[in-house]
Structure formats: structure tokens, C-alpha cells
Subunit: 338 residues, 2 copies
DNA sequence: TTGTAAGCGTTATCAA
DNA sequence: TTGATAACGCTTACAA
């Protein structure tokens, strides 16, 4: 029998108490699975709950317990890029996994306008969540400082410049970029360029820095193009531009796998063979890397771990435990594109 | 000057009232921007708010107003597919746009396990949101019936079989599939197959049905392969299988653009030219369609409109307005892959 | 225009 | 083991 659809008024704990012939306190204890409830009381309450169709009002509960058992995940991603980047899905799933296990509800809030930004800040401020993990913040992101001011336990995925000193989890983009660039150099390429992206994010900025370091005196600024987003389109255009500037180019570091995939298309359209004529490497080891022909040499980044670790960082703060910055390992995975 | 970080106790409306030398009621009126507040009172309250660092407690407010001004967007997507499908990002953004304009906070809840499913149901039941839009429900999805039982205003994107009779917004997958298949037939192909996917969703099921209808007596079941998810990998494997079964195949309808992209790779690896040797069409007109070479002929589906319309459906119910099922238009966009 | 006071539906303390 | 009762922080008649 479906619960009586009292669309007029929802049953309260009082209604249950009356129906069961017991007090509110006892009903509350049953609902929360506490000890010190006799079997007969428990049964009576359970029957009453079923008969009046009671469900607990979370607002009232949160008000008295002063917690919500929910954690926000704030996604501030440029419109066009949202979910084109497979990393963010993995981060989300990773965070959800650890929060779910700890019996917290993950609520994702997306910021797509200044208006959203304000509303999300209000949402956090209102005490509707006990903590927040922030992904894809850009340099000097207003939501980042808002979170700090609000004082809610929080952690970043990545650590953009200009970000308040909150705990974060990241990878060493610079070191990873250096490694893969060095590997590319070692294949004997002479003219190596880079398609840089998202320089206003720590990831984009640091990948470029790593490339530059690895190139040392061979670094040639005219062989670097820069685009705002990690997209296939950026790779396509970037490679075309590089080819225009220097037809003899024989190596390319693309700032992400999606960018590398676009670049590879441009290379093939220009009649060049990968890796024979030009070697190309990406970054992320996302699903893109296995889609290209040949498959991409790239840097593996543990996106799900990024998400789960960030979630753990905020959980630790909630529990009053110390939470330190975490830098996760990456690995170069060498396939056939270089 | 940053607000005093009273980590000990948050200021309440009472503290503001005391500081301003006014009553709680007046403070509340100022906070909510109501009329009938003298300028001097308003100013005094605003100063007091700043000095004590007051922010309103949403749980308390929601408790008395009996609303949350938040709408849930429930994503029940198989782990691996989450956000590989660009449609879902567009749906999310579309919904966020209309809700944001109406000053509602969109909170996305993802379901990735049975445990999640129960927790999300509790979240909805608890009154933490005023409505819900459900995307990517599968046939007989438990969360779908939970939502119906809970009685919260809701709308589906799509209308899987076995779904309770709640308002939904969808496209006519079957008619669209028929159109593009007919167009493919008209190019003179003789042996046309299909790579079907997600048959447990209305979209997957109906696209296949449309294909079958359009093929009429030419329909050949041995030229159909079926995979659970709309993925690149499904397209890759599906096309290989089709080629094995029938090397002379000269036309393919892939159930989504991602699938088509995978199929195109398989075709090219087998040495076949698209569209000369085999014509291929997809579905969605997502970013995938412009990435393949040649670019994909496909069905344009207004993913953002799907999201915004679903949000409007929910809003209408909250406002007590009638809300009817909506079927959105699609269009065949013909490029070079067939 | 402002103040008073009664809830909103829980949980939690303290007696019984 | 159970029952009163006092919060939790806010909104909202109703009075003044």
C-alpha cells in the first residue's frame, strides 16, 4: 500500500507519537536507531510511521544538530568545456565514492555566471553543507576567496595562483611536463613546439613551465601557441598555426589529450605521419588517449584519486583532524604517437 | 576588513537585533528586503549585520517557510559513461540557466551505487529541495518511482519505459532515426547496418525502432549489433563485428555520434574510405560530429533545451501551473560522412 | 513603522 | 526505558 499522499500536510513526529501512544522523544530515538528503546515501543513506532506516512524533515533536523551531512562540489568551468574534459567526471565520481562511504551526500553546484557565483556563495554561507571541494578554480577566483571567508571546511583540486591558503590536492604538473618533454627530446626530435592551454589555471601554467625548463636552451618561443581552453578545437587550430610558422616542426607537446587529439587531426590533414614525421605527446591519459590513431603517449594523472583525496581532506577538517596538502604521483605512459 | 571569524558561534538575528537596538522582526524585514522599514532602522540594521558578521541560517529559514528554493538534478549514469556524453553537460547547463534566472539553486546529485540511490531518495524526501529533474533514467529505474512516491514536483528528460507518469521532455527519437535512415537509404546504399546502444533507455530503444521501420523489408537483423553504452569503444567494436559479418556493408547508422566516431576509426583501419566505400550517420550533433574526418551527418538534438524545458516543467508544478509533456524538434544535418 | 510572540519539526537534557 | 521541556534560528501574524 502506497503511503497516504497527504498533499495537504506532511506527518510530523508528533503525529507518529500520537498514533503510537508514545512521546516525541521515543519516536525520535527509534527514527535515529538509538539504544534504550524497548522492542514493543519500537514496533509500535514503526507501525505508526507506516500508517501516517511519516518522513523526517531535514531542515528541522539540521537546525538542531547544526550539521547537514552534505558536502558541496563546486564546478567553475567555462561553459564550452564543461564535461568535454573527462577528468572532471572522474574527480566527481572519486569524491562521491568516499563521501558516500562516509554517509555524506555530495551536491554539485555549477557556476556559469556571476549570478551563480553569488547564489552558490549564499548557499554555502547558509549552512546547507558542512564542507566544500572546489574544482577547476581559475587564478584569483572570487568563489575561492568567498569560501575562505565563509570559513567552511574546504579543499581545492589544484592550487591556482591567488588562491587562499586552503588545503589542496594536486599533481606536480611542472615535473610531469618536464619528464614527458625530456622523453620526447630523447626520441631525437629537433624542433619541438608546444600547444599550451588554460594558462590561467595552475595546470596550464605549470605544464608550460615544465616544458620550458626541459627544453632549456633549445626553447623557442615562436614554437609555442596558446589557447584559453583544453579543447580538441584548440589542438586543431594550434597545430595548423604551428605548421604555418614552422613546417619542419617534428615534435609537439600538447597541454592535454584532447588538445593532442585535435593536433593529430591537423597533422594528418596536412599529410604528415605520426610518429614518423612528427612525434606528439599529450597529458591526462584520459579516454582521448586511446581514441587517436596511433594511440597517445601521455602523462597519467589519477583524476579519481584527486577527487577522493580532496573529499578526504574536507572530511578530516570536519572531524577536527589535521589535513595537509597532498601531491599525487603521475607517470609517463609511452604509446605510439612519439 | 574581513568579517570577524567567530569560529565559536555564528551570529544570529538576535545578536543583530541587540546590536542595532531593534527587534528581531525588524531585522528580519531588512534582511528580506521588505517594505515598511524606516531608513534609519535599515541603516542601523545593516551596520549591525556587518559588525557582528551575521549570515542567515538557511535551515531555520527553510523550516519556517517550508521551502528550500533548490532543485535537484539527478544523474543516474553508468560510471564509465559519465560525462563522456557531451549531452549531459548541455542538459545541466540548460537547466541551470532557467533555474538561476528564477533564483533557484540547482544541486546535482549523482547516483553511482544502490547506496547512493537510497541516500538521494532520503535527500529528496527530507524536503531539502523543492523539485527534481531526472536525467538518464533507465527502464524501471528505482529512483524514478521513488521520486513519484515522494510526491515532489519532478520532470524527466526522456521517458523510459516503466517510468511513472510524470511530466517529461523528450525528442521523438524514433521519427528522427527514421528520417536519417531514409536519407541514408536515398544515397543508394544497399547493405545498411546499425550499431545500436543503450536499448534499456528510451533513446536507444526508439532509435533502433526508427531504423527498423525505415528499413522496412530491407531490414536485416544480422546487420545489427547492440552494445550497452553510447561509447566510442562500442562503435569501434561494433563496426569490427559488422565488417566481420558482412564485409560488403556500405551503410551504417550509429546510435550516437560517439559511437559513429568509433565506427569510423574501425572503418579506416580496415582500409575503407568514408563516405566512398561506406556511408555513416550518427545521432546527437554533439562535439563529436565535428571531430571526425569527414565530419558526421547526424541528427541535431537540442540538449540544452531539453534541460531548460525540464526545469520549466518543474517550476510550473511548483507554481501550481499545468505542465504538459513536451516533445522537442530535431533536424537532420547532412555533412560529409554519408 | 516597529515590537511581541507563536510557531516551524527536530534533537537533547534531565527527571522520572 | 520513557516523557517533559527547552532549545535551534527564523518568519509572520497581530498589536501597538
Amino acid at each position: 500500500m502506497p503511503p497516504p499522499r497527504t498533499r495537504n500536510r506532511r506527518a510530523t513526529i508528533n503525529d507518529v507519537a500520537t498514533a503510537a501512544g508514545l512521546s516525541r522523544g521515543t519516536v525520535s530515538r527509534v527514527v535515529n536507531g538509538e539504544r534504550y528503546v524497548s522492542d514493543e515501543a519500537r514496533i509500535a513506532v514503526e507501525e505508526a510511521i507506516a500508517s501516517v506516512g511519516y518522513v523526517r524533515n531535514s531542515a528541522a533536523r539540521n537546525l538542531v544538530t547544526q550539521e547537514s551531512r552534505a558536502i558541496a562540489l563546486i564546478i567553475h568551468e567555462p561553459h564550452s568545456l564543461l564535461f568535454e574534459d573527462p577528468n572532471i567526471g572522474s574527480i566527481l565520481l572519486g569524491a562521491n565514492e568516499v563521501l558516500s562511504r562516509a554517509d555524506y551526500q555530495l551536491v554539485s553546484l555549477i557556476i556559469d555566471s556571476d549570478r551563480d557565483s553569488r547564489r552558490v556563495a549564499d548557499y554555502l554561507r547558509g549552512g546547507l553543507v558542512d564542507g566544500a571541494v572546489i574544482v577547476s578554480a581559475r587564478a584569483s577566483d572570487p568563489i575561492a576567496s568567498a569560501v575562505r571567508d565563509i570559513g567552511v571546511p574546504a579543499a581545492f583540486v589544484g592550487h591556482p595562483p591567488g588562491t587562499p591558503d586552503l588545503p589542496y590536492v594536486a599533481i606536480d604538473n611542472s615535473a610531469a611536463a618536464r619528464s614527458i618533454t625530456e622523453r620526447l627530446v630523447a626520441t631525437g626530435r629537433r624542433r619541438i613546439g608546444m600547444i599550451a592551454s588554460a594558462m590561467d589555471r595552475d595546470s596550464g601554467h605549470d605544464r608550460f613551465a615544465g616544458f620550458r625548463e626541459a627544453m632549456g636552451s633549445r626553447f623557442d618561443p615562436s614554437l609555442v601557441v596558446e589557447y584559453p581552453l583544453y579543447t580538441y578545437a584548440a589542438g586543431l587550430q594550434g597545430m595548423q598555426e604551428l605548421l604555418r610558422r614552422c613546417p619542419e616542426i617534428d615534435g609537439v607537446f600538447a597541454a592535454s589529450d584532447a588538445v593532442a587529439a585535435g593536433a593529430m587531426t591537423a597533422l594528418q590533414e596536412s599529410g604528415r605521419k605520426v610518429p614518423d614525421d612528427v612525434g606528439i605527446v599529450g597529458f591526462d591519459d584520459s579516454s582521448w588517449a586511446l581514441r587517436t590513431r596511433p594511440q597517445l603517449s601521455t602523462v597519467r594523472q589519477p583524476a579519481d584519486l584527486l577527487g577522493s583525496t580532496a573529499a578526504e581532506l574536507v572530511l578530516a577538517q570536519i572531524r577536527g583532524l589535521p589535513s595537509a596538502v597532498q601531491v599525487l604521483d603521475t607517470a609517463v605512459v609511452w604509446r605510439d604517437s612519439a
